[in-house]
């Protein structure tokens, strides 16, 4: 057909935020929260996350832990996100979340226990309102929408203080209907929820480009009529700034937001994966040069806030923490067979008593690992 005349009914722009470039140079004035102390604290948390991941992978390799998903290279996303929440806010994480969990006060030993085969690891002692790590991809995004409804409801009708929920997922998760349904509801009901996508370019072996024809994940928010932003996910300042801004806007009643944090998975998908089967080595090498710790260290170094002595001191301190947590994991109280029925319902229904007794008569398992 010949080109007809049409009129414009809507227009959308997707913006990208960065503070530190790949060389650790500030590309613009840093936000107010970025004091030397705060930056050093973020660096410390990223370093701890990396150390935890490193040890967890080693534990797995030596048969002391089950499958483990490292967040190597994506520490800025977890730490930047976790730091943007207040204690009483709620976090609905996916499974690749070391940095954010640490920020939320989850203990390293709890994280290890989860992947070490103990449900009790999910009983976050210091983050009692947070959701457990979520394995079925994207399903946690709907929980977050529900939590957000509850928080707004409790604020408006039950006199509670304003709270916000943040939830995370991977780029692969953005192909699931759940992601879209959660955003759409959040938009329609203007819920206080922030969706953070760790775009690490891979869903196991499926590349971001094979996942969708959309050129950004951020633009997927347009479908739901909600705001979105793409941030440099290797720049912890940008992540923290974007999520903080979204969280506080949501807290003030401004509704939901989607944040796409662009990063790269510098490791296997999990310890059960072998990324060399599908990940182009040169792409991986190029990504390594953009990683978040090096970048922040460079910035801090340029600013005279970091040097090798401080790095060594930090590593010593973190090694001690790790040591302590590894012991706590090794001494983790084993679960007894009846544990599998004890928390299924609030009270064990009578018809299950017989099965309970059968489990009670069983010898505890011998050191499965």
């Amino acid at each position: 057909m010949h080109k007809p005349r049409m009129h414009l009914v809507a227009s959308f722009d997707i913006a990208h935020l960065q503070y530190l470039d790949e060389q650790g140079r500030a590309t613009q004035a840093l936000p107010d929260f970025a004091t030397p102390d705060a930056l050093q604290a973020m660096y410390r948390q990223m370093a701890l996350a990396r150390l935890v991941d490193d040890h967890a992978v080693k534990l797995q390799r030596t048969g002391q832990l089950g499958t483990y998903p490292s967040s190597l290279g994506q520490e800025a996303i977890g730490v930047g996100t976790g730091g943007a929440l207040r204690r009483q806010d709620i976090y609905c994480p996916y499974y690749r979340e070391t940095g954010a969990l640490l920020e939320r006060g989850v203990e390293v030993a709890e994280i290890l226990a989860i992947w070490g085969g103990y449900e009790r690891g999910q009983d976050f002692r210091h983050a009692p309102g947070d959701f457990p790590l979520c394995i079925p991809i994207a399903t946690q995004l709907l929980h977050a929408a529900g939590v957000a409804f509850a928080l707004a409801y409790q604020q408006r009708h039950m006199g509670a203080e304003p709270r916000v929920v943040v939830t995370s997922a991977g780029d692969g998760a953005s192909s699931r209907g759940d992601f879209y349904e959660a955003m759409n509801l959040a938009g329609a009901w203007k819920l206080p929820v922030v969706f953070v996508i760790n775009n690490n370019q891979w869903a196991i072996s499926v590349s971001r480009r094979a996942q969708t024809a959309a050129c950004t994940i951020a633009q997927k928010a347009v479908a739901a009529g909600i705001n979105s932003l793409q941030v440099d996910g290797n720049d912890v300042i940008a992540v923290r700034a974007a999520v903080s801004d979204a969280v506080e806007r949501a807290r003030a009643g401004g509704g939901p937001m989607l944040i796409e944090a662009v990063s790269y998975r510098l490791c296997d998908h999990t310890t059960a994966d072998d990324a060399s089967r599908y990940c182009p080595p040169d792409e991986l090498e190029a990504a390594r040069a953009r990683e978040p710790l090096l970048r922040l260290a460079r910035y801090l170094g340029h600013a005279g806030l970091w040097d090798s002595a401080r790095e060594e001191e930090l590593q010593r301190e973190l090694a001690e923490i790790m040591e302590r947590e590894l012991l706590a994991y090794r001494d983790w109280e084993p679960e007894v067979p009846t544990a599998m029925l004890e928390h299924l319902y609030a009270t064990l229904p009578e018809p299950l008593l017989e099965q309970y007794d059968e489990l009670a008569a069983m010898p505890p398992p011998t050191g499965a690992s």
Partner: protein, 327 residues
């Protein structure tokens, strides 16, 4: 006190609990101004406001999933699925999360929620509007599956379901939504979950049925009585966890049992009941447990639905066969 129908009893229970418990919220497709396509939520939005009685966007997976978040955060969500045939997109959230949240957080978080859905056939509705797949949900550890079969039980069991600290699938037999009226005092008294109801005493045979199938089952029992056969009729009401002992107790008297359900036979709940009777009461039985059920095929469009549903003829035939065993 006016006599009310089953669907009105549902409304009455929802209203009672909305009034008494500020944590209760009711949501789903068309539950607001429209009052639900079966009018189960009629008038609730007008009385309790749009903040507590909400129309959702059209997405069942979403409805199932947000209920988990709401419940974990301290609310008491009651979610409506418009028809059981449209509940399946929500199954993942029910099975993977609602049923498990308490267990995987070792009791830290829990899911006190109710998923309601009209279910069953026989109302001449279009395709996919006549499902009865309760067995799928009954197989899922951590859920409760509850089916009322009278206005009184709808009221009492729904109150119990909302107050229960764990997730409940509440299936409402829509064929009998308006089939009979009862006086149901709006006194907030819940009925017990996890317990069978003995609807009729008898000594000659035990009939186990739930939901709409009880209509024909009770009618069959009357017919049998006229013929001198006294059937005991048991409504499990809570299909999971199942109170098998009341059924076994009945078998001590009757030694013969027929299970009646609308759902397809293969891997239906009748199989579980037969298997447990076999396990717990093998020596009591004078005849095999007989199943009168829907056929193992897709519920047909409405011209044939009466051929699919167990009717009095088929129930009576099953009973006679069981009574005459071995013949």
């Amino acid at each position: 006190m006016p006599a009310i129908t089953l669907v009105e009893a549902v409304t009455q229970a929802l209203a009672y609990e909305l009034r008494e418990d500020p944590r209760v919220v009711v949501f789903g497709q068309d539950v607001g101004v429209n009052g639900g396509v079966f009018r189960a939520t009629d008038g609730l939005q007008a009385e309790f406001g749009g903040a507590r009685v909400l129309d959702t966007p059209l997405a069942e997976n979403m409805i199932a999933g947000i209920a988990v978040g709401m419940a974990a955060q301290g609310l008491r969500p009651v979610a409506e699925f418009q028809f059981m045939g449209f509940i399946y997109p929500g199954l993942d959230q029910m099975l993977s999360h609602a049923a498990r949240l308490r267990n995987r957080t070792r009791g830290r978080l829990s899911c006190p929620l109710v998923y309601r859905a009209p279910y069953g056939g026989g109302i001449h509705a279009p395709e996919h509007h006549s499902e009865s797949t309760e067995a799928i949900f009954a197989h899922i550890p951590g859920l409760r599956v509850v089916v009322p079969s009278s206005p009184g039980r709808a009221y009492g069991l729904l109150l119990a379901a909302i107050r229960d600290p764990d997730p409940v699938i509440f299936l409402e037999p829509k064929r009998i939504y308006r089939a009979l009226r009862q006086e149901v005092p709006d006194n907030g008294e819940a009925l017990p979950l996890d317990r069978c109801f003995r609807l009729r005493e008898g000594t000659d045979i035990t009939l186990v049925a739930w939901g709409a199938a009880l209509k024909e089952t009770l009618a069959a029992a009357e017919q049998l009585s006229a013929e001198g056969v006294e059937a005991e009729v048991i409504d499990p009401a809570t299909l999971k966890p199942l109170d098998i002992h009341t059924i076994i107790d009945s078998l001590e008297k009757t030694r013969r049992c027929v299970v009646i359900h609308e759902a397809a036979r293969f891997c239906g709940l009748g199989a579980e009941i037969a298997a447990q009777i076999n396990e717990y009461a093998f020596d009591l039985l004078d005849a095999p447990v007989h199943r009168v059920t829907g056929f193992d095929t897709v519920m047909p469009y409405y011209r044939l639905e009466d051929c699919y549903l167990p009717d009095m003829e088929r129930i009576l035939a099953g009973v006679r066969r069981t009574l005459e065993y071995p013949a």
